[in-house]
Amino acid sequence: MVATARPALEAQRLRADFPIFDQKIHGKPLAYLDSAVTAQKPRQMLDAMHTFYETSYANVHRGVYTLSERATAEFERARGLVAAFVNAPSPRELIFTRQATEALNLVAYAWGLNNLGPGDLVVVTELEHHSNFVPWQYMAKRTGAGFRMINVNADGELDLGDLDAIAAEGQVKVVANNLVSNALGTINPVEKLAEWGHEQGAIVVVDAAQAAPHHPVDVQALGCDFLAFSAHKMCGPSGVGALWGRRELLEAMEPFNLGGHMISKVRYEETTWGELPHKFEAGTSPIAEAVGFGAAIEYLNEIGVEAIEQHEQKLAAYALERLGEIPGIKLYGPPPDRRAGIVSFNLGEIHPHDVAQILDSEGIAIRAGHHCCQPLMTRLGVAATNRASFYLYTIPEEIDRLVDGLHKVQKILG
């Protein structure tokens, strides 16, 4: 780990930026331990959107009037911030989408439909969120390509020993994997997969929805071809996400959504497509949301993603230690130094719904379910797990409350 010059993050102080914590839930302070599904919002981001609506709102890339120019400038400034956040070589390679899911569908459709066929293989991992699994499974079926999965070992880490066997079965055309698993918190060896994928002549599609909020992301260092993420998991608003793609690939691809704004020229006989990124941004964009996305990135940059990651790793280590003391608990996933701030567990035979419901009465919010990772749940032999996930505003006291809450669950249902 490279030592960072930045001071450690002070979660207790940062909490003051988040109005959501001003309330009580069932008379108790809110312990929000579900940031992996979506993060809470700092006042700075909310204010930026509010101010934009009040002072600069108009459609972008349309009007010649002052307000539209102002809106366009703010929208494009946000694009620059988001692109720089993942070290994209150019903001033109950064496409605003509705969220990571739409970004991944964009690649599956716009690249997959024209480039996949019988004899080809699409390779995903057992750790994928449904959003980077289902579009590829579907596109493989639709084009006649094969569909393969890289499995995980008992620690929830990818077993790269399978790669040669997979490559022997066909022409690998797509390698789609996440950088951080939302179900287990595993940090995956994307660089290695990208290298292998490129050796096969494949495109490498990275789902960074869970990584971007918590872990430094550099598309050039990763060596991938596409990378998708969502604003709402990183202190930004819902309704906007991003796809970064390599320029040559984006330029060669067919469009995804068609309509206004994405065109160059429309004639009765034929339509030609606009330049990047507009070619992939049909219709009115999520304008204020993009501005909010930019403000969220500025907020995260101020704190430093490295500092956020260190904070979460400390919390994960503490959580694994404290939870490990509970009799009958089963913890899933890798050791704390190879995971993000996510801890999945089961409390004996007690159903996660019941665990989450009783914790809710203590003001503690955790996720109970399959986390949109049913293939992984099948591998773990469970229908669902409990998941506590942390962010820059999470404090160790909340983990203590979680542990106390779990003791209460055992008392009621054990």
Binding site: H351, P352, H353, Q357, S361, A384, I412, L413
Partner: protein, 141 residues
Amino acid sequence: MDDLYREVILDHYKNPRGHGVIEDADASAEGVNPLCGDEVSIYVQFAPDGETVDEVKFSGRGCAISQASTSMLMEMVVGKTAQEIAELPKEELLEEVGIPLTPIRLKCALLGLGVLKVALHRAKGTPLPQEWAGLDELELK
């Protein structure tokens, strides 16, 4: 909350009635709640009249609410005819369950009843209630 896990619920959860499988059942169905991946299968054996439920069992996995409500359902339906069960309003089961449920937990509580109605529908052609259309998250296989 402590209402939610009141004694009778915990009793049915910990000692479910009619838990098991009937081999060669006259009617059976399996359902899953895609929100949480819970699955329940229900098996029905009719009396010699071919209409009255003689024995009913359920298997599968689920939360305390779904397990307890399905267990209660097993007790409620023995001796009723397929038609009577098809017409059984969900409120009657919910009254038995007797706890306030949020929309998401309502799906847990009604999973067993839905699966039972599907099993009877398949075996006897009894109608499926319209309200299942509204519970679109409940995916009946």
